[in-house]
């Protein structure tokens, strides 16, 4: 697909074990269960990197710790770390994160997506673009970009290698 990869040899990390949610001692099935960090991470960990057959979790582009959630105020902030400082895929990754959360979270949620401070050459410009909803809306009407995003968000079939 891409003749020259931006990061040809990314470091691949082990996936974290999937934790089973601890069940509260007193179960009230009618009580609204607050959305927590792990739940957000579960939505995002399997997103595929735009240029590698690895997930964002395997490349440590996102980690559970990089997700801040405040369910009572319906707020999430995701901080991601591109694999290289000049990664031109940073905007696509950010768009994937935003689209996945838009599709997964209740509409009351406010979402901020940002690059980890100091991890990217054009950090401020990428952050501004990812948080301008008009630019995001316009990007999501671009069929090529939507195809790219959908490909990253597609559930993986089995394992590569």
């Amino acid at each position: 697909m891409v003749s020259e990869l931006i990061n040809a040899n990314p470091v691949v990390y082990e996936k974290k074990e999937r934790r089973v949610r601890s069940t509260p001692s007193c179960v009230d099935e009618y009580a609204a269960e607050p959305i927590d960090q792990l739940e957000i991470f579960d939505h995002l960990r399997d997103i595929k990197d735009p240029e590698h057959p690895y997930s964002l979790e395997e490349l440590k582009v996102i980690t559970e710790d990089a997700i801040e959630v405040d369910d009572s105020n319906s707020y999430v902030r995701v901080t991601f770390t591109p694999t290289v400082e000049h990664c031109s895929m940073a905007t696509i990754i950010g768009l994937c994160l935003r689209v996945k959360l838009m599709r997964s979270l209740p509409s009351r949620y406010k979402v901020d997506i940002r690059i980890a401070p100091g991890s990217h050459a054009t950090e401020a410009a990428v952050n501004k673009q990812l948080n301008d909803k008009e630019r995001v809306a316009a990007a999501l009407e671009n069929p090529n970009l939507v195809d790219m995003v959908d490909e990253c968000l597609a559930p993986s079939n089995g394992f590569a290698g």
Binding site: S107, R108, K110, K128, N131, D132, K133, E134, R135, A137, A138, E141
Partner: protein, 349 residues
Amino acid sequence: MESHDGAWSLKEVQKLEGHTDRVWSVAWNPAAGVAGVPAMLASCSGDKTVRVWEQNPSSSSWFCKAVLDETHTRTVRSCAWSPSGKLLATGSFDATTAIWENVGGDFECVSTLEGHENEVKSVCWNASGSLLATCGRDRSVWIWEVLPGNEFECASVLQGHTQDVKMVQWHPTMDILFSCSYDNTIKIWAEDGDDDWHCVQTLSEANGGHTSTVWALSFNTAGDKMVTCSDDLTIKVWETDSAKMMSGDGYVPWSHVCTLSGYHDRTIFSVHWSREGIIASGAADDAIRFFVESKDGSVDGPSYKMILRNEKAHDMDVNSVRWSHGENRFLASASDDGTVKIWELVPVI
């Protein structure tokens, strides 16, 4: 209304449902809502359509009078009525601006303006209806001359912003154009007498301006004050010398008067100044707030105070707030939740 010093309350008059995606913008027909003509409102949306809503004179309730579809192929971002109320201009992410004519209650697309390279983000008519301005992601501002027979001729393409231009707005009395942008600035454009348009002033961080995207601007009735709102979470008020401005003695610069901060806690997308001097603001925190100039006689010049807020005006971001022109003063708001709401600001006795 402006003489009321007491408390205010915001009454939700009606919620208008019909759009199937976020509503970006609303515009009141300036020729309606007066002299027995029922009030009329247009709204445009990510669902690629424009809806025209009218107030039923007998029941006072609002209904969808027309759906303008199958013309724009992408999000309709902005809509604006001509001063006569006969034409509606709509700007779309499909790079075109459509002109719709109201023919006995039916809306026909009578012209399509092409020229922008990509998304058109805002459209605005000047006070006399002889000029139309458009702007977009291609960083340019276009001025179109309105010719007889629904013809539009490009009079000027203004380059100067270094990023996409979010909104264009004509001065309420003079043919001076204001544009605000993702480049954090507001630019002011005037004609030099030779049919050439130039940028005569740039309001940036250096002159007390915004530190992030400027989303919208609005003028007071006299046209000597302007309010702007931004992604930097502030609202700023600007002023010019009105006496000097009226004397027609060349361009009179604008200067920063005050900054309202600490109110909205997410991007402020819209501000609109009412004829009575009340500034309404709508933001990504789902809230609508209202401000008036404080008469407390500060030595540091004019200051503004918040008189009311509705923290949960909509279920999602508020993208546009607009006061009506008519005898009954309504506020319309548009939201990501797909609805338009009609509000009335009433004094609490």
